[in-house]
Symmetry: C2
Subunit: 244 residues, 2 copies
DNA sequence: ATACAAAAAAATTTCGAAATTCTTGACTTT
DNA sequence: AAAGTCAAGAATTTCGAAATTTTTTTGTAT
């Protein structure tokens, strides 16, 4: 065990990472990113070398991913990446929309001025990112896209952060993680024009003005548009697979 | 490995159970039942002998329970049973109510005659159980209580089964599991009189008559009354602990 | 008595091999 | 050709010991 370093030991502010926790994180990222094929058998011997880890930490990580619903296990037959399907996409999208609008509604009702300040800051960071994306010609550089994704994630988290329900946020984040698998899968397709920046601004404005119904309506539309993009891409995927 | 038996091998209709899966199930039950103290450190050496299992299957089971949010882990310092708190109880109760009323609403809208037949059967089994409970003098035998709990669970599952959302049911069952920990903790206290059978009948009747709003209102009240019982018992627990 | 350092003991995590189960391919029977 | 049986190889699961980390105890200095 080599990962508890000298800088960490005094005061122990940062969590020591076991090998199992490290490989869990890598596996989780790879599943969400689609690098491990949905539905595919996870061959343990291959994963041992791919992730430079032993059997016990690997099985621990996979077991935890079973609890996260990103992996399925079958006794004596090992583990598989959880499958994806259009039916499930619709279910996740509806359920996420249902939860996220509730969380937003509660947030707008309960959030104090400090919260609103946080929302404003995250909106500004996002808006700046979106301007840079707009200004980039052709295909934007991947680090710019990554930064946009992070600031988008933070804007949405800030919006919901005053909802007062740890569990609502947990469940919503489970659904977001599932949804992200679909979104990543859809990135291989060019998308139609969509004014995401405008959508974000409208949501931010409604929240700033404390218009609960409006905000919920807008975020629902925002989520629905994302789902529509993903759905279209997945359908294209299926058509291309049928032609091959 | 001894648990794949000869009866199972032909056709393989039933899942082969690894040791890890078996100890996972036992640990899960013991945590939900409160046999393992909320917040307590899970000492691996003790668990090895308690559950007659080796270190690898044990750690796999615990890792999965981390994913289930019944156990917390801290790198290099092992695992703990997830804590309970009054604040969390309220959060879980609200969130569960929110999800379960939605699932019921969808179920009543979408459920066909076959579904309604299933609901009716489960209601009849529950009602019979409740009559037997009523007829038993003093403290009812524990097998009767267990049977009531199972038929109660099945009634609720039947009610929601036509909602058309795998994910809504999954999330709701996560919350039910969490809530069950609190309910079990509250069983050590006698409870005030409550007409649970009447509540079940009213819900069943509203569902049978396809009165969505009424059904949702009733199930919300039903869940709230359960929460109130649990809350009162937990407050009593705290008072008793303060006196000791 | 308190604080610090070092050693010992306990606990946790991981390793690598052994045990067990599943899958595949070869062969035989119908 | 299809179905069944068996053995070999591959994959999965578990074991028990070793390695590592944390906690506790002991000893020393102030």
């Amino acid at each position: 065990m080599t990962n508890a370093t000298a800088e960490i030991a005094p005061g122990r502010k940062t969590e020591a990472k076991t090998l199992a926790a490290q490989v869990y994180e890598k596996l989780r990222e790879d599943i969400v990113a689609g690098h491990l094929e949905p539905g595919s058998k996870l061959k343990l011997e291959q994963l041992l070398s791919k992730y430079s880890v032993g059997m016990s930490p690997l099985r621990e990580a996979l077991s935890r991913l079973v609890g996260d619903m990103l992996v399925t296990s079958q006794g004596q037959r090992g583990f598989r990446v959880a499958p994806l399907s259009l039916t499930e996409l619709e279910d996740i999208a509806r359920t996420r929309s249902f939860l996220e609008t509730e969380a937003l509604s509660l947030s707008v009702q309960k959030g104090d001025e400090e919260w609103l300040e946080t929302v404003e800051q995250s909106y500004r960071a996002l808006a700046q990112n979106e301007e840079e994306l707009d200004a980039s010609n052709g295909e934007p550089p991947s680090d710019l896209v990554s930064r946009w994704e992070e600031s988008n994630r933070q804007f949405h988290a800030a919006l919901l952060s005053a909802c007062g329900s740890v569990w609502l946020l947990r469940l919503n984040s489970i659904l977001n993680q599932q949804m992200e698998r679909y979104r990543r899968l859809s990135l291989r397709h060019s998308r139609g024009h969509r004014d995401i920046a405008g959508e974000h601004y409208a949501i931010y404005k409604a929240v700033k003005d404390r218009k609960i119904l409006k905000a919920c309506e807008l975020i629902e539309q925002h989520l629905d548009l994302t789902t529509e993009e993903v759905r279209r891409a997945l359908l294209q995927n299926e058509e291309e697979a049928a032609e091959a």
